[in-house]
Amino acid sequence: MKTMLDSLHIAWIIGTKDILDALKNKSSRANIVIMVGMVVFFYWLGVLRPFDRDVSVVVYDEGQTSLAIEKITLENGATYSFQKAASLQEMETRMANQNLGLVLPADLDQALAAGYEPTLQGYVFWVDRARVPGLETKYSLAFSEILGKPVHVEIDRNIIIPAATADGMHSFVAYLMVYFVFTTALLIIPHLMLEEKQTKTLDALLVSPASPGQVILGKALAGFFYILVTGGLALALFSMFIVHWGLALAAFMGYALFAIGVGLLVGSFIRSMKQLGLWMLVLMLLLVVPPLFYMEQNLKAGIRAILTWFPTTALASLLRFSCSTGVSRAQVGLNVVIAIASIVVVFGLVIWKVRRSDRS
């Protein structure tokens, strides 16, 4: 127990040194700023913000109402564009990437003519329940302006969480997380290790009480810190999509551990910046591209089956499941097994490499 605490203490000292040292290094600092900027950029891109000023509405009209299906700009500058759906089911399907589903009651025109305040059922994707009253107010005001009479848009429990296999934002969020976490890990961790080798400060560390394992653990802690900065920020910004927080956090830890393992493995092999660049390219192709292809719904079954076994595809699937409904235990189980096995293998390789190089 004491040995373990000592190890953690030494790893912590090395890790904190690396965290601060990376902030003093211009290229590491630039990498971190770029990654954080990309997270914020994708968030503000609009694709990931279901409720912004340009609202797309899929309308299911139960009767033949007088609502004009055209693009409308409100006084506050917000624009509303409309699509029609023939049924409630079609509305839900078609609003996969839309902002709002709206059911117009059959007696809408009569109610408006009689001076009543009719209630329209609104449907949204992945919204935090706490945000529902705000959205109801926003849409009630918007549709009152559009229809020229006061109406109430009720969302209440009409929150749609799509199936894991459905196309939608959850796939994109899961993929972006792979991109953010792995790019951060591959930019920071091998660089930390390479610099220690090139400046030979690693020799000084290894004659100090720090063991090779503790040095590696220290680098892993520093890497984890920066993954928390970018991946954690992404997770926080995309939190509106998460339905199963336990699974989401487990998936995030899986992303982090696997990315750290890969970063350490690269760092233990490379000896120059040139090699690092080459490894980065190869690994980005192997790790970041498969889950991107996996998002494609029309992918051939054979290719899909192969991509399923890629660790990053499994991790992305787990995060996608955390944003979905109707996920089976078997689906989760298979991906958990792939993810854990990958983490074990990659850390096994790191330990093997460190032991092999130590004192030889």
Binding site: I10, D21, N25, A204, V207
Partner: protein, 248 residues
């Protein structure tokens, strides 16, 4: 107990024998000069004695610790100044020393003590990348002394330094020995070895070809009194170089 005891220490790199069955002892409080031409095996020997490299065969005890089985116990008992200036350049001298003080679990007051000892107090807050080579060397020595090691390994500590700074560094080394620290010194500068070391060993092609006090070596190998340690060094270690040039 000897500070360093080496018996038949050998190290091979693939087919190349870098260190070939060397044996010697170093007394506590002694400055031991370990001299040899480039590629003679000096750094490999230091790396083995400091636990960084496993020997192919043979054994060694440093500060009472076996270099193979007692690596972790050995670490707090030794200090190493490497042949490269391996300091964290974006950190200040003080930050470097505080980092290593935390690793060695040394009190922070010790950081100021060693900074004073090597004359670096005034610039201790500046980033290392702004230092001259001489200042970096002082910081390296301070780092090696932080935890008050029993044995200090110095690998070419004055290489590339100008005469004034080299003299200052030699003064620091002599002071350490006066305080009872054992110093294992490798250097290219024969005058430095002559001036500082109680005994010197000449290493050539991985083998010790002579080991004694500088005075005894001069009287043993010098045909006349004017011969310097450098003359004897060239006489004893030129064999390998001659063979190399013959092969060319």
């Amino acid at each position: 107990m000897k500070a360093i005891e080496v018996a038949n220490l050998t190290r091979d790199y693939n087919r190349l024998r870098a260190v070939d069955g060397i044996s010697f002892t170093v007394e506590p409080g002694e400055i031991f000069g370990f001299l040899g031409p480039n590629g003679a095996g000096k750094t490999t020997t230091i790396r083995m004695l400091t636990g960084q490299l496993l020997p192919t065969s043979g054994s060694a005890m440093v500060a009472g610790c076996d270099i193979v089985t007692g690596r972790q116990s050995l670490k707090p008992r030794i200090g190493v100044v490497f042949d490269s200036q391996n300091i964290y350049e974006r950190m200040s001298a003080r930050e470097n020393l505080v980092f290593f003080a935390r690793l060695y679990r040394v009190k922070m007051e010790r950081v100021e003590e060693v900074l004073t000892q090597v004359g670096m107090t005034a610039r201790a807050g500046d980033k290392v990348q702004q230092y001259s080579n001489g200042m970096k060397q002082r910081v390296l020595i301070a780092r090696a002394l932080l935890h008050k090691p029993e044995v200090l390994f110095l690998d070419e500590p004055t290489r590339g330094l100008d005469a004034h700074i080299a003299r200052d560094i030699r003064g620091i080394i002599a002071g350490l020995a006066r305080d009872g620290m054992t110093v294992f010194l490798t250097t290219h500068y024969m005058e430095e070895a002559d001036q500082l070391s109680r005994r010197v060993a000449f290493l050539d092609q991985g083998r010790i070809v002579a080991l004694d006090t500088p005075a005894s070596l001069k009287s043993k190998y010098g045909k006349d009194a004017s011969k310097s340690l450098e003359d004897i060094f060239i006489q004893l270690t030129g064999n390998g170089l001659r063979k190399e040039s013959e092969n060319l």
